[in-house]
């Protein structure tokens, strides 16, 4: 499994090492340049002193012999011990004077024929590394110029650089370690909300679907994910709630007639003198109600898995509507309802007539059963979108009821006292619409008219 923490650390740690290394080399290079500059400055001052000593010498003496001025210069304490060197060459290049600390050794010669003052690094015979400054000193009287060199040991500078390098290396490693530790800690802290979300999600079950993740307490990067999770939880909760309601309704629809059958038959068996033909009629009624519920549930189940068996053929919609309408005329007459049929007789739809008949019949049955007595039901089958509309006054319905209309076994009457309906008709119609790749919608108009519309998905 890929870990974000490992990935981030995999990028950050080499990055820290690289940055530290570059910083160390930068600091080291700067220090080296400063030490070189300091060395060259000291070398310049020493060369100036040597030049001054030579000038005093040439002005005091006659040129060929070097007098006490140069001796005094060479006899300085700094030339007695290693660290600072001086050597003077004759015009033929023979060593003429050396500082005592050179002994018989020469300073390293310049790398090329010397015409001007140059500086270079060299190594003495004893292995000591020095910085040498060589220059010519012009002699008057047509004599060729003298060459002399001063040198300063690099030991101190190199020791300082070495110490600096050691310090930088230790500091760099320490810095990298601290940064790594801080990064790991920061990642751990930053990733904690994700871990908390994971723990909470793991602890959630069917009984805790009302709980939500606290999106406001989450970092902005995770908040959108948490918000989506909360949406998912809300949908799951609604789904579970719908199923729970369905189970409760189903228990009522099945158990009530069963209880009636059982109680009536038990009374008849135990107290035969108490029973009458009405009891058997009650048993028949309860059995029929039970059968109606079971048949509707089976139909719903078959319709929900009917997508593969849908056969499409041209269907005259107005003829189908009229056919369904005749099935409900008696009931409509009984309730003094009138039908306002608006249809285009030439309208042909390509669909499964069996499933479409179930939809139309259920919509008309629903309107016939629930429209207030003496009102009008409008049925429109036209060439448009929606291609079928069934509207009826529904004064008892509220906008909160509309999302539940297609729920299985839902009834407006929560007591479910009316034994004539199970609350499956619209669920069956909706499932048939899905099987036909149609969309069945319900709308409650401002005038309290319930409008059921059948749309083509396209």
């Amino acid at each position: 499994m890929r870990s974000i923490r490992v990935q981030l650390l995999g990028w950050l740690l080499p990055g820290f090492v690289l940055v530290c290394t570059v910083a160390i080399f930068g600091v080291y290079y700067s220090a080296q340049q400063a030490i070189e500059a300091d060395l060259d400055a000291r070398l310049s001052r020493l060369a100036g002193s040597a030049r001054l000593a030579l000038r005093n010498q040439t002005t005091a003496g006659t040129g060929a012999s070097r007098g006490p001025g140069l001796r005094a210069f060479v006899a300085k304490e700094e030339f007695q011990s290693p660290g600072q060197y001086f050597e003077l060459w004759t015009s033929t290049g023979e060593p003429e004077r050396r500082s005592p600390n050179l002994g018989n050794a020469d300073l390293p010669p310049p790398p090329k024929s010397m015409h001007d003052a140059i500086r270079y690094n060299g190594t003495l015979r004893d292995g000591e590394r020095v910085r040498v400054s060589t220059m010519q000193y012009p002699q008057g009287g047509g004599n060729p110029p003298l060459a002399f060199a001063v040198a300063l040991s690099r030991r101190e500078g190199e020791a300082r650089l070495s110490r600096l390098l050691t310090d930088l290396a230790i500091g760099g490693i320490g810095c990298c370690a601290v940064l790594c530790l801080l990064s790991a800690l920061a990642l751990k802290v930053a990733m904690r909300p994700l871990a908390q979300v994971g723990e909470k999600a793991a602890a959630m079950g069917a009984g805790s679907l009302h709980e939500r993740f606290d999106a406001e307490a989450m970092p902005s990067e995770i908040a959108p994910l948490v918000a989506r999770l909360n949406d998912l939880m809300a949908r799951l909760e609604q789904g579970f709630e719908r199923e729970r309601r369905f189970s409760g309704y189903l228990a009522h629809e099945l158990r009530t007639p069963l209880a009636a059958i059982r109680a009536t038959s038990e009374v008849a068996a135990k107290w035969p003198e108490q029973s009458s033909p009405d009891d058997f009629h009650e048993i028949t009624q309860a059995t029929m109600r039970l059968q109606q519920t079971v048949d509707s549930l089976l139909l719903l189940s078959r319709v929900e898995t009917a997508s593969a068996d849908v056969t499409s053929q041209p269907v005259e919609l107005s003829a189908l509507v009229e056919e369904c309408l005749t099935l409900h005329l008696d009931r409509a007459k009984q309730r003094e309802l009138t039908f306002d049929l608006q249809h285009d007789p030439s309208l042909i739809v390509e669909t499964d007539p069996h499933l479409l008949r179930i939809i139309v019949s259920n919509l008309i049955a629903n309107a016939t059963d629930y429209a207030p007595q003496g009102t009008a039901i409008v049925i429109a089958a036209t060439n448009g979108d929606p291609f079928l509309r069934v509207g009826n006054p529904a004064p008892d319905l509220t906008s909160e009821d509309i999302p539940h209309l297609f729920d299985r076994l839902w009834r407006k009457d929560a007591t479910r006292s009316d034994a004539a309906h199970a609350g499956l008709g619209l669920s069956i119609a909706s499932s048939c619409a899905v099987a036909l790749e149609l969309v069945l919608t319900a709308e409650l108009g401002e005038s309290g008219t319930l409008q059921m519309s059948l749309h083509s998905k396209k």
Binding site: R244, S247, G248, A251, H252, R255, T256, P257, L258, A259, A260, I261, R262, A263, T264, E266, V267, K270, W271, Q274, D279, E282, Q285, A286, D413, A414, T415, R416, S417, A419
Partner: protein, 225 residues
């Protein structure tokens, strides 16, 4: 004992009411919650059987109002809602028992009997006074070891007087607990029933009287006849 049965499904209400009456209970029944609540306010019932989903007023609401009014009459919920949450909610609201549909009539009768005993703080189904013994579960009466055959109404009257043993029971109380609302007893119906009961439980002239009359007050079965 007098029961109230509130159930909106007539196909259940009718046979269950028949069974309860056949078992010797005076039963008032209705299919409407509001009417049930009004009946509860008008009469003192020994046991109430309530459906939960009722038109007019929910069974839970009836129970809540009942308990809020300080009425401790045992209540049995009879409902199709069988989930643990529903049972727990019903019992926590103050119901004494919970039975889900469909149910065996015998079980319902047994539970009602237990609730009736609970109302009078009795644990045993056998009520005894002297040599007279009434078994609430078996619905039998024995005196001196001999079984007596009583009509359901006389059985109910004796049961009620035994449950109130040691207390004077007024005629009104007897009317309230022995007769349902469909029977409107005349003032002498109770006296006639008590007289018939006395005859039914007397084995011979030597049998000690069990039911005593307190003039102007009612009847009493003393603790020690």
């Amino acid at each position: 004992m007098r029961l109230l049965f509130v159930e909106d499904s007539a196909s259940i209400r009718k046979p269950v009411t028949k069974a309860l009456k056949a078992s010797g209970y005076a039963v008032d029944s209705t299919g409407d919650g509001i009417e049930g609540w009004q009946m509860l306010q008008d009469h003192d019932y020994d046991v109430i059987i309530l459906d939960i989903m009722l038109p007019g007023m929910d069974g839970r609401e009836i129970l809540r109002r009942l308990r809020a009014a300080g009425n401790e009459t045992p209540v049995l919920f009879l409902t199709a809602q069988d989930s643990v949450e529903n049972r727990v909610a019903g019992l926590r609201l103050g119901a004494d028992d919970y039975l889900t549909k469909s149910f065996a009539l015998e079980e319902l009768l047994a539970r009602v009997e237990v609730l009736g005993r609970r109302k009078y703080a009795k644990r045993s189904p056998i009520l005894v006074v002297g040599d007279l013994e009434l078994d609430q579960a078996a619905k039998t009466v024995r005196r001196g070891g001999r079984e007596l055959h009583l009509t359901p109404q006389l059985f109910a009257l004796l049961e009620y007087l035994l449950l109130r043993k040691g207390q004077v029971v007024s005629r009104t109380e007897i009317e309230e607990h022995i007769y349902d609302e469909l029977v409107s007893p005349m003032s002498n119906v109770v006296d006639t029933a008590v007289c018939a009961l006395r005859r039914a439980i007397t084995l011979s002239d030597k049998s000690a009287p069990v039911i005593h009359t307190r003039r102007g007050m009612g009847y009493i079965i003393p603790e020690f006849p």
